[in-house]
């Protein structure tokens, strides 16, 4: 706790807590001596502050999960900077993320069936991070903290829930345990990778609303990774649209989805099921899927599918163009400046 308060005092500087700059990740593929590279994430930059939800949306293979995994150092970035609380952690913590960083940035995974150990009680799984990160001392204090976490995550009665094992819980309850476990270290930022996509529809809102409450009440910043644009619009202050490893458009969520400018964002939004519009009203303007990311050709990655493609799209990646106060994109239809 004292650590978190110390961090709070640096708020005056008004620098966002997390700043990702020109992040790149390439995976070597094609055998031991293969020279091929899979360009999973290319030149991704964004900021995430306390008390803010930023959504990373895109189709499978767009690089959104890889981006989160780079930030928590499950993968080592090929290049770029991850500036956390004013320090480039890739330089200050070159080999792996420090305990202190892990105590401030936590991650929640998609699969609540795979992310909890089946052999340990819920209580045990929550105690561990508390002890490792020394968030409470002494048996009684740790226990009280576990109960408090369970209550925060909406798992009642906590005494009973702590004794249970994962198999006794529903998917929604397990994801709440995963959130409680992330909260155990009192993080300032949580990276949530598709946290509700494996849950039943009727309980998804409960988990999204819990995240919203944690943002409002505790000022936790969330990176919300999803393929579901409607939920991003619902939860996130800002949304970034990723395609083939690039952020192609970003903006304030409602503005972005009501006025999409990039042809890919427009395509994505036109494909979202909309019961009021009906299936036949809006024809899909582009077919095809995300191109191969192995040694991709230069230029805009969306060019092969883009209904408005121009010659220059096929050889140069467009620069960032501002189209609103907090709305930018990368598309040759919008020249910078």
């Amino acid at each position: 706790m004292p650590e978190a308060q110390m961090v709070g005092s640096s708020l005056e500087v008004r620098r966002p807590l997390l700043e990702v700059r020109h992040l790149v990740k390439r995976f070597p593929v094609g055998g031991l001596f293969g020279k091929k590279q899979l360009h999973a994430v290319t030149d991704v930059s964004f900021t995430l502050d306390r008390g803010e939800v930023v959504a990373l949306v895109g189709e499978s293979g767009s690089g959104k999960s890889t981006t989160a995994r780079l930030i928590v150092r499950l993968y080592e970035p090929t290049s770029g900077e991850i500036i956390f609380d004013g320090k480039d952690i890739l330089k200050t913590e070159p080999r792996k993320a420090s305990l202190s960083f892990r105590g401030r940035v936590q991650m929640i995974f998609q699969d609540p069936f795979g992310s909890l150990s089946p052999n340990h009680s819920i209580g045990f799984q929550l105690e561990r991070p508390i002890r490792i990160h020394k968030r409470a001392r002494g048996e009684a204090a740790v226990r009280a903290k576990v109960y408090e976490l369970l209550e925060t995550a909406g798992l009642n009665p906590p005494e009973e829930m702590a004794r249970k094992y994962p198999f006794e819980l529903s998917g929604g309850q397990r994801q709440r345990v995963a959130i409680a476990r992330a909260l155990a270290v009192e993080p300032e930022i949580i990276l949530a990778d598709e946290p509700v996509s494996m849950l039943d529809v009727s309980i998804r809102m409960g988990v999204l609303n819990l995240m919203h409450r944690l943002k409002e009440e505790r000022g936790i910043g969330f990176l919300y990774i999803t393929h579901d644009l409607a939920s991003a619009r619902y939860l996130a202050d800002r949304t970034l649209v990723m395609y083939a490893g690039h952020v192609v458009e970003a903006g304030e969520s409602v503005d972005l989805m009501d006025n999409p400018q990039h042809p890919y964002t427009q395509l994505l939004l036109s494909a979202v099921p909309n019961p009021r519009a009906g299936l036949r009203t809006r024809e899909v303007q582009a077919r095809g899927e995300i191109p191969s990311l192995i040694n991709p050709p230069p230029g805009c990655p969306f060019a092969p599918r883009c209904p408005r493609v121009m010659p220059q799209c096929r050889h140069t990646m467009p620069e960032v163009a501002q189209v609103g106060p907090d709305h930018w994109l990368r598309c040759h239809l919008f020249p910078p400046g």
Binding site: V201, S202, N209, L229, A271, P273, N274, A286
Partner: protein, 351 residues
């Protein structure tokens, strides 16, 4: 055959149980609905609500421990659950309209003939249901040659035709599944389901594993094929917005029972059952004002030991405190719009 007054498939009071060591799981309880010819009928609900079990019962592919403990399924008037006892003559007259076809020489062959030629199915995560070590062409021609009296060359010609129908280059017939994208594999599975021109296609979460752009593309294509060939679709999904967009009528299932059944626009604009309302409140909108949505508190009941009376009561926002001793029955609250909620609409006195 296209008589619109008699339904294509008629499910009456169906009960299915899974016999487990801990006792029977009552997965489907007293479910009745009918799909008309040319119609897209949607079956919506959360996981384990029984929707896939119904699909498997219709296709006669339920295996132990699943047991059909009651009810009937009539396909063009023929009892699907009693196909083994149906005479080839009756089948020929009612199902085939008097035409003789390969593989209906004996009652035992009727099931084979009914599956796929009459009712086919696109399974959940169908893109992984192709055999990984067999070329696409053989996976399609196998189906054709098993059911039709044609040689390999003719089967291949028809396979090429099917590829054209689902918009895939016929050169891809020589590919193995791993060489194709998820969307293409799903299209091929749909082509195989279409191969024998069935009257009913069951689609169980056909696009759940696909990205939205591919999903929309495939659904538009299915919609077009349906209008071209006139088959009916039993469409199963948990995604209510997709379902409303795609279906003519919808049945909402909860914990093994149908709680509401109505035309799609009625489900969207005038939901009657509190569960349906809760489901609709679980899908944030992609347009308009951002409003807080509640979803539904709690979780579905354990069907090993379901609560007596209304199975939704514990999660219901509109429960009046009235105790309903028996399961609420579907009743026609307004014309063509059925709901099973006795707290609000009382109990109908029908048999």
């Amino acid at each position: 055959m296209d008589d619109r007054s008699t339904p294509l498939i008629d499910i009456r009071n169906l009960y299915v149980e899974y016999l487990t060591n801990r006792g029977p799981v009552r997965a489907v309880e007293n479910v009745s609905f009918a799909v008309k010819s040319g119609e897209v009928f949607g079956l919506a609900g959360e996981s384990a609500c029984g929707k896939s079990t119904i699909a498997h019962a219709i296709l006669r592919v339920l295996r132990p421990p699943a047991v059909i403990t009651g009810g009937r399924i009539l396909y063009k008037g023929v009892d699907v659950l009693g196909l083994e006892r149906t005479s080839p003559e009756e089948y020929r007259n009612k199902v085939l309209g008097g035409v003789t076809r390969k593989g209906i020489g004996s009652s035992a062959e009727l099931i084979e003939r009914y599956r796929w030629a009459e009712v086919s199915m696109v399974f959940q995560s169908a893109m992984n249901s192709l055999n990984p070590v067999v070329k696409i062409v053989h996976q399609i021609t196998d189906v054709l040659m098993r059911h039709l009296d044609i040689d390999r060359a003719e089967a291949r010609r028809r396979a090429e035709e099917l590829m054209e129908i689902v918009n895939i280059d016929k050169r891809r017939l020589e590919a193995y599944p791993h060489q194709l994208s998820g969307g293409m594999r799903q299209r091929i599975v749909i082509a195989i389901a279409l191969a024998l021109r069935p009257s009913l296609m069951i689609m169980d979460e056909p696009t759940t594993a696909l990205d939205v752009v591919v999903q929309k593309d495939i659904l538009q294509q299915i919609d077009q094929l349906k209008r071209e060939y006139g088959f009916s679709i039993l469409f199963i999904t948990h995604d209510l917005s997709l379902m409303v967009e795609f279906s003519d009528r919808i049945a909402i299932m909860y914990a093994g029972e149908i709680v509401e059944l109505a035309p799609a626009n009625e489900i969207l604009n005038n939901p009657l059952h509190p569960y349906t309302k809760g489901l609709l409140a679980s899908f944030p909108s992609i347009t308009g004002e951002r409003v807080k949505m509640s979803g539904i508190p709690g979780a579905p009941p354990n069907l090993l030991n379901p609560p007596a009376g209304c199975r939704f009561r514990e999660r219901c926002a509109e429960w009046t405190g009235v105790d309903i001793p028996r399961s609420p029955q579907l009743q026609e609250v307004i014309p063509d719009h059925f709901a099973a909620c006795e707290c609000k609409y009382g109990r109908a006195d029908h048999a």
